[in-house]
């Protein structure tokens, strides 16, 4: 958080104080409409869902706010729910690892191209990133369907039809497909910023190519890897659309389970408790990212001025949008 800079009129101390007060008021005035909006439509809902997580579900499926209890949180220890959380965490981890493995060499290739090629390749990465996410999941659903093009192709090649849809495999493919660009962009940013003379120096000192990579390049791009992991893990852990379209009933994940509590099952307190858990988990992940980001800061990212929390996300959003 950079300190707010003051314009300093060289008047007397009293005048300066009055000016500072005026500026403070101006700042508040400027921020207040947006702040008020967030207060009503974000902070209040956030508070409300926390309150709901301690409420009781009546026998008719309504939510009663009288009588606080931690029943919903206790229910989270239920075997079924633990299983769902475990499966979500496992699939999110698998997705994240696959994204690193697939994305790192990919980002490496792009970042080491000549500038004009790099610009074109980057646009080619951006287009899927900006493309409607739902349409992209639908594309996978269409491709993998039991009578879809992929199956038809495999049949005509003599491999027989395959039934991948509505399995965890399909969900994983869909998540990697959906979130790969979230990994590639921070990796690209880190690699592009790398001081390659360090790798060169390692080579000059007779390190093998592999050794130079593992000992120099990889550690120097750690911040990009961590940021990418958070950016992929967070949305895949809470993903709702991907498992809903590609997973079917057998691959129930946290996101779908929460949705179910608010739609069909009408157990709002349980859904609320799970949501709170999910939010807390996300905040922890982001905080960890921030801490590790500041650790890797000095050597590897000289051009980057630190600012604000959640800078991994913020930076990628900016990188993509600017």
């Amino acid at each position: 958080m950079g300190p707010a800079r003051r314009s300093s009129p060289t008047a007397g101390a009293a005048g300066e104080e009055a000016a500072a007060l005026a500026r403070r008021r101006q700042g508040m005035l400027l921020a207040s409409p947006g702040a008020l909006y967030l207060l009503i439509f974000f902070v209040a809902p956030l508070g409300l869902i926390s309150v709901y997580s301690f409420a009781t579900r009546t026998s008719t499926g309504r939510t009663s706010l009288s009588g606080w209890n931690v029943e919903s949180y206790r229910a989270l220890g239920d075997d079924i729910i633990v299983g769902i959380i475990g499966r979500s965490a496992w699939l999110a981890t698998l997705t994240t690892v696959l994204c690193v493995v697939v994305g790192y060499p990919f980002a490496y290739y792009i970042a080491t191209r000549p500038r004009h090629v790099r610009a074109v390749l980057l646009v080619m990465v951006m287009i899927p990133f900006w493309t409607n996410a739902l349409v992209r999941v639908f594309a996978i659903r269409f491709l993998l369907g039991s009578n879809g093009p992929a199956s038809a192709l495999s049949e005509s090649l003599g491999f027989g039809t395959f039934r991948i849809l509505f399995t965890p495999t399909a969900v994983t493919i869909g998540m990697v497909y959906s979130f790969l660009t979230f990994m590639v962009l921070p990796l690209y940013v880190a690699l592009e910023r790398m001081d390659w003379s360090l790798t060169e120096a390692a080579r000059d000192l007779y390190a093998s190519g592999a050794k130079a990579f593992w000992k120099v390049t990889l550690p120097l791009t750690r911040s990009g890897i961590v940021a990418g992991c958070v950016l992929v893990f967070v949305p895949s852990f809470g993903s709702y659309v991907v498992p809903d379209i590609l997973g079917g009933a057998k691959t129930l994940l946290v996101g779908s389970y929460i949705a179910r509590q608010f739609r069909d099952a009408r157990n709002w307190p349980l859904g609320a408790a799970l949501s709170v858990l999910l939010i807390v988990a996300m905040l922890v992940a982001v905080a960890l990212n921030q801490r590790s980001g500041s650790g890797a800061e000095d050597g590897s990212r000289p051009r980057n001025r630190r600012r604000g929390p959640d800078q991994g996300e913020a930076e990628t959003v900016t990188a993509v949008a600017s």
């Binding site: 707010a4 800079r5 314009s7 500026r23 403070r24 700042g27 508040m28 400027l30 921020a31 409409p33 947006g34 909006y37 967030l38 974000f42 809902p45 956030l46 409300l48 869902i49 697939v102 060499p105 990919f106 490496y108 290739y109 080491t112 000549p114 500038r115 610009a119 646009v123 080619m124 287009i127 900006w130 493309t131 996410a133 739902l134 349409v135 992209r136 639908f138 594309a139 269409f142 199956s151 497909y177 940013v189 790798t199 060169e200 190519g209 809470g238 993903s239 709702y240 949705a259 608010f262 859904g271 949501s275 999910l278 939010i279 996300m282 929390p309 959640d310 913020a314 900016t318 600017s322």
Partner: protein
């Protein structure tokens, strides 16, 4: 850095990297290409090519539910983009320039809607609207979920995205220009109108484009806060996919795809006009 970066890799590794990169590009593009290809299929069977036809586009655009969903999506996107551009830019300016009470809290809060998963944001807003309506209805009016709740929800997350993008722009802002204006006796408003705003405008525009895209993309939050008759296009597509794959869906998806790609290319053109290549890498 211009030219190929010499990173001391062997020839085999380099070739491997190149092959891998194009495999990944294929992975990213082939599913979309197949989807688009089959939207022009004359056959109603999804897996058999029955010749070229634009029939499914006609079918889709004659469907009243779809045209109404397109209209709702556009209205929501437009409203939420405009409002969040104004509010988000104001918050970004306040956070960047001023010190005031609650600044720290606001600084932290404004990032949250970006971080938390869609589904939690969706159920939060659902619960919120349910409670708010209960409260307001006790005074008489009978409010229901509809296009306004969808727009209100989209603004809630778009403010944050606009704010983040504009702040990045403010970060590289040359403050001496403003000081110069003040030295030449420009009033605060004049300085803002003539110097600050034009300089951050590319950031505001980029934030607006992001907001527009996110609003047109959103399915999870919309699905929870929408009411009968105010279905957005993604929500319609989402519920249709669950019922099964039809060529009509391919046609609508292709239209949505075209819209997204037009937006990306538009934003790239915008950026090209304003920034030199070196500045771009700086932003990245």
């Amino acid at each position: 850095m211009s030219g190929v970066v010499e990173v001391g890799l062997g020839r085999r590794t380099r070739r491997g990297l190149a092959v891998w990169a194009w495999v990944v590009f294929a992975f990213l593009y082939v599913p979309i290409a197949v989807l688009v290809f089959f939207s022009f299929n004359a056959s109603a069977r999804v897996n058999i090519w029955g010749g070229f036809s634009l029939g499914w586009y006609g079918e889709a655009l004659r469907n009243d539910v779809i045209t109404s969903a397109i209209r709702v999506s556009l209205i929501v996107a437009l409203i939420s983009t405009v409002v969040s551009m104004v509010l988000g830019t104001a918050v970004a300016l306040a956070l960047d320039r001023y010190r005031f009470r609650g600044r720290r809290a606001l600084d932290g809060t404004v990032y949250l809607p970006i971080v938390i998963p869609d589904i939690t944001m969706a159920v939060m807003l659902l619960v919120f609207f349910a409670e708010a309506f209960k409260l307001i209805d006790s005074f008489g009016p009978r409010l229901t979920l509809g296009i306004s709740t969808v727009a209100l929800s989209h603004i809630a997350f778009n403010i944050s995205f606009v704010c983040v993008v504009v702040r990045a722009r403010l970060d590289q802002f040359d403050r001496t220009l403003e000081e110069a204006a003040r030295d030449l006796y420009a009033t605060g408003w004049q300085t803002f109108r003539r110097i600050t705003l034009p300089l951050i405008m590319p950031g505001v525009a980029a934030g607006g484009l992001l907001a527009l895209t996110l609003s047109l993309d959103d399915v999870v939050i919309s699905a929870f806060v929408t009411g009968p008759g105010s279905t957005t296009l993604p929500v319609y597509v989402f519920s249709s996919i669950r019922r099964g794959v039809t060529p009509e869906l391919n046609a609508i998806s292709t239209l949505m795809l075209t819209a997204s790609i037009a937006l990306v290319l538009g934003s790239l053109a915008l950026q090209r006009r304003r920034a030199s290549a070196s500045q771009q890498t700086q932003i990245l």
